[in-house]
Symmetry: C2
Subunit: 321 residues, 2 copies
């Protein structure tokens, strides 16, 4: 959550001149993105987000991510368009780093979603899944069950230093996830990380879905499970908010009803969604110095969600009477 | 340069409701300020900067800083107004920390000022000095020559670890600065830190002067010296940009001609201005871990300026024929 690169007025004005967006009026480095630097740019015409890809992201994936924004936006999803430069390019290289200019969308991320907001987010996710189905780009999910196992293996004996219950918890669930993970559910391009941080709300309305840098082709129902896990609990994952979880599912099914196979898979997918964040957070936890300015996210917030899903079975996903 | 505190939509909306500024539409944490967290807030009426004072600043000084913004803004200076809450308060307390809402001003900070920009900044500084003369608030400068000496003393033997020339340089100049520092030049409220970072430019026009958290009562001519040192060199301080330095002085003197005593003092004040940043940067350099995300500022950038001023004498400040 920082701006890693300094860009002064002259650099920014030179850059903006490559786009048909008017003249630079204001630019503020914004504290969003873990591996990117971002600026909120204002010209005499409109506002934009300028992203500089600092690391981690593969340049090879940029056409997939930026093209997806255009595809979804053209289909009416509340997703920022990519602004193409005067030569039609979706990104440019500046000082050896890729940069892209995207539309600015209004809205604010909520901490404690209401059922009305969760309903709207469920519906927006379903519409995203419908609209992305015919997106021609392809990118495999590199965070599937065997990848979680491999991250956990790399944590090794240190896993218990995060929390003494963590090794047993992962050992109890990983075999099911590896063996029972479905292979025949409907696929589409999924967001895969639709936390409240990545949704800009205007009251009960979704103003924008952002940060598609985990987007990939995978089961639509897995994305439902990720979103359910991300929205329907207090932050620590100690309390399931049934009204929020139900509203999210109802909103989703209004726009894209689940098949019986998808519904049947959801309890396992939800355990998997929770495990995915346990695994990446545990790995990052051990990989990040305690005094780093980057806030470490507690893997136990998702260990508690995993335990909830394991006990709750299909109750959170059963259709309401 | 980070946002140290998380504020979600609900916190922000609750906060904004205490002000008569409309409804929250967007909020982005911005990467400005070393010891504050800042958000660019948009409502359905206008934009604002929300500042949360995280540390270092004394709550006792807030009325001075925030009142100064109002005083200067009322006098026509391009300074953001403080937005007062519905009860008339210039700041509020949130989670034990002071917060203030100030006007958003457009403009972008330049890296390589042109003479035209330097002229405009000189004139804006002079107008600030005129306008602040009758500001009733008082705050002493806590970074005067004896304070630089005390910071350098605290660096002790480690000073040479930054650069082997640094101990001799400070030993050569500090006695003059301590003994010859003037005591009878015209005083006003000065900005004391008017680097290009703290000026929002719209082309050749000054759109905003910001970040008054070093403002204090001191010699107007010392502020001229600080601003001259901050604007008239390349970043490393290796090259004096005579055209920029002259334009800055000309812009200043158009709006507030210097007295002969002020002009005579400027060579010493400029050495002092450079030493002030050598001292604080050296102290911060030794105090900041090498791998911290905060960028350490190199004290040698100002050691080179100090050497320039010591050699140049009154040439940079002599009136043009």
């Amino acid at each position: 959550m920082a701006v890693y690169t300094h860009l002064g007025a002259e650099d920014l004005a030179d850059l903006i001149a490559h786009y048909d967006v008017g003249n630079l009026v204001s630019a503020k480095g914004i504290a969003e993105g873990v591996s990117n630097s971002n600026w909120l740019i204002e010209t005499d015409r409109a506002r934009y987000i300028l992203t500089m890809y600092e690391r981690r992201i593969e340049l090879d994936d940029l056409p997939f991510f930026l093209g997806l924004l255009d595809h979804l936006s053209a289909a009416g999803c509340p997703v920022p368009r990519t602004i193409h430069d005067r030569e039609g390019r979706a990104w440019r290289i500046l000082d050896g780093k890729a940069i892209a200019l995207i539309e600015f969308l209004p809205g604010v991320s909520v901490d404690r979603p209401t059922p009305g907001q969760a309903y709207a987010v469920g519906a927006a996710l379903a519409e995203l899944h419908r609209a992305s189905a015919d997106y021609p780009g392809s990118r495999a999910n590199d965070l599937r069950p065997r990848d979680w196992q491999s991250l956990l293996d790399r944590c090794g004996g240190d896993l218990g230093s995060i929390d003494p219950h963590l090794p047993a918890l992962t050992a109890r669930h990983m075999p099911d996830l590896l063996e029972q993970w479905p292979n025949d559910l409907p696929e589409t391009v999924i967001h895969a990380d639709l936390f409240p941080d990545n949704v800009l709300m205007l009251g009960d309305r979704v103003g924008g879905l952002i940060d598609f840098y985990f987007a990939c082709r995978d089961f639509a129902a897995y994305d439902v499970a990720v979103t359910h896990a991300a929205w329907s609990f207090d932050k620590a994952g100690s309390r399931y908010r049934e009204d929020v979880g139900s509203a999210l599912m109802a909103g989703y099914e209004r726009a894209r009803p689940l098949s019986s196979a998808e519904r049947a898979a959801l309890p396992l997918l939800a355990r998997g969604a929770a495990m995915r964040f346990v695994a990446t957070r545990a790995f990052d936890w051990l990989d990040t110095p305690e005094d780093a300015l980057v806030t470490r996210k507690d893997p136990m917030d998702f260990a508690r969600r995993l335990e909830f899903y394991a006990e709750a079975g299909d109750a959170p996903f059963a259709p309401k009477a």
